[in-house]
Amino acid sequence: MASKTATKDIITLRGSAAIVSEFFEESFARVKKYGLPMLLTQDEGVKSFISNLTSQLSEWLEAGKLQRVVLVIMSKATSEVLERWNFSIETDSEVVEKGVSREKSDKEIMREIQAIMRQIASSITYLPCLDEPCIFDVLAYTDKDCTVPFTWIESDPKLIANPQMVKLHSFDTKIHKVDTLVSYKNDEWDDEA
């Protein structure tokens, strides 16, 4: 009896690896993008949320009305904002207004995005641990004259009080320049110092 329970609780390296890889296979798909291996979610709900979101964002981008996109990570229990990923967008108004084009190779742009992706992946080293269930939301900062689509609502900025901020690399397509900044909740001990 005792030996039976004991064998049940033992986990081998191979078994563990199988469990972990199964988790990633089921929840995420491994793809290569921007010359980097990346994990894409397989969750249908998240996928449809993101595709709805991006279609509206690209509409605003083409009209030059999008100023900022913010990804907010909140505690599920308290709705407290823990992390705020801020992507500021500067649009070359001449391109939008006059329809001229700019020259920049895809390769250059991809390399710049790659640099940001690397930084985002490495940010795990300094961001505080998220050890509770979290939810996320996306905010879009648009021009004041922009009409609100029916599927969108006005929101508060969901700011973090006294945040730590780290600016990451930026990339630009010569038409849109995107700056990345992450702000996160100060650790309590840091306040003492």
Binding site: D43, G45, V46, F49, I50, N52, L53, Q56, Q67, R68, K76, A77, S79, E103, K104, S105, D106, K107, E108, R111, E112, A115, R118, Q119, S122, T125, P133, C134, I135, F136, D137, V138, L139, A140, Y141, T142, D143, K144, C146, V148, F150, T151, W152, I153, E154, S155, D156, P157, L159, A161, N162, M165, V166, K167, L168, H169, S170, D179
Partner: protein
């Protein structure tokens, strides 16, 4: 293929630019994981730390709470002037196993599962309300959490128990003190505040039928608007004053809000108890922040909203979005407006064609009910946010001055200048509403469904 061709072209045509780009990129790749501090927005930071203090009279620079408040305020105005902040309405899915803790997501799930509901076009029940004072600026009807309706008719306050269908008299005030100008149940559904024409407010225990205390000395004229925030009773008077009364203490006046210069006729606390909306005959709508209130000096408003062109009486805080307020204007304005009370931005304005006397949100669906005056004297049910009319309920023969919602959120009582009190099953039948409510135990009003 295509990209390499174009990069070659660039190189041959404009070599200098290409080289610059190359160098910048190689540098970026060198400091791979080191944050780019040189690019941080120091101009903005400098402005936040210095210019702000010049603008503000407050000399307490060193104290961190005021600095913090200022910083927040600046950040908000900064955003308010330049941008709109939008969020996609269909929220991303939350982790699976846990209970949905946001009312919004719960309501959304409920909606998709529910079939189209029938809205009866006629009132379910009509009661006589003789001597109901036909005065737009008063608030004479309320429905308490213990399912008892209170209505002031002339000098008398009557209680109608909706579970039993029985009527009782709470009080008849003396001829020189009346008539009654406002009634409001405390959140416990047992205590009730009664505002009078002589500027006094009485607090009654409805179960013992006993007068507990009389609040005097605050207002100089009739008290037409009341609302509760826990043990704080907020009163609005014809003198334009708004007073927070702590009903537990002898010196009951704890805070005052000064901003209206004519009669205050609408008062509503937000569900969180953080923000108070007040409307007046001066066409003004104010948003006050509870945390900014102080006992020794009149409180400054958070927002003064001047878009209405007639008296603002109808106020309703949205039950599924904390910072959304609906307000309705009087006969000269006829508009329902929606506000983000965080930023003070007007989100939408709809001309209804007649005086807006009262507004109620449906607690189960994204719908708003408005009651109107001349010419139709109707109740209109709107889909939010499209503001498509779902139903128009007629029956009253004079303006529908007051509306109150049953504690289960399904039935609406309306009192009109035609001296009738009508009940409408406009927000769904109790059966339909109670089923999804039972599933989502976290819904704020779920426990109240058993009453009916």
């Amino acid at each position: 293929m295509n990209s390499s061709a174009s990069s070659n072209k660039t190189k041959s045509r404009c070599p200098l630019q290409e080289q610059l780009l190359q160098r910048r990129n190689s540098r970026e790749n060198l400091d791979r994981f080191i944050p780019n501090r040189s690019a941080m927005d120091f101009d903005y930071a400098h402005y936040m730390l210095t210019d702000g203090k010049k603008g503000k009279e407050n000399p307490a620079v060193g104290s961190s709470p005021s600095r913090e408040a200022y910083r927040k305020q600046l950040a908000e105005t900064f955003n308010m002037n330049r941008t709109r902040i939008l969020a996609f309405k269909n929220k991303p899915p939350t982790p699976v196993e846990a209970i949905p803790n946001e009312f919004a997501s719960a309501a959304h799930q409920v909606k998709s599962a529910k079939p189209r509901r029938h809205i009866p076009q006629t009132s379910e029940r009509t009661l006589d309300a003789p001597d109901l004072v036909d005065d737009y600026y008063l608030n004479l009807l309320d429905w308490g959490s213990s399912n008892v309706l209170s209505i002031a008719l002339g000098h008398t306050v009557y209680l109608w128990d909706a579970s039993e269908g029985t009527t009782s008299e709470l009080v008849t005030v003396d001829e020189e003190n009346g008539p009654v100008t406002s009634v409001k149940w405390a959140p416990d559904g047992r205590h009730i505040a009664v505002g009078l024409n002589n500027s006094e407010v009485q607090l009654w225990d409805s179960t013992a039928n006993r007068l507990l205390r009389t609040l005097r000395g605050g207002h100089r004229s009739r008290v037409g608007a009341l609302d509760w925030n826990n043990h704080i009773l907020t009163t609005g008077g014809m003198d334009g004053q708004i007073i927070n009364n702590d009903v537990r203490v002898r010196a009951h006046i704890v805070e005052t809000y000064q901003g209206h210069h004519q009669e205050v006729c609408g008062l509503k606390w937000s569900a969180s108890g953080q923000q108070l909306a007040s409307g007046g005959n001066d066409n003004l709508l104010h948003i006050w922040d509870r945390s900014m209130a102080s006992s020794n000096a009149p409180t400054q408003w958070l927002h003064r909203l001047e878009e209405h062109t007639a008296a603002v009486k109808a106020l309703a805080w949205c039950p599924f979005q904390g910072n959304l307020l609906a307000s309705g204007g009087g006969g000269g304005d006829r508009c329902i407006k929606f506000w983000n009370t965080h930023t003070g931005a007007c989100l939408n304005s709809v001309d209804t064609g007649s005086q807006v006397c009262a507004l109620l949100w449906n607690k189960n669906e994204r719908e708003l009910l408005s009651s109107h005056g001349f010419t139709q004297n109707q109740l209109t049910l709107w889909k939010y946010p499209s503001m498509v009319k779902i139903a128009e309920l007629t029956g009253h023969t004079s303006r529908v001055l007051f509306m109150a919602q049953s504690p289960d959120g399904c039935t609406v009582a309306s009192a009109a200048g035609d001296e009738t009190l009508r009940f409408w099953n406009v927000f769904g039948t109790p059966e339909v509403a109670s089923k999804p409510a039972a599933k989502t135990s976290s819904e704020p009003f779920a426990h109240l469904n058993r009453i009916r």
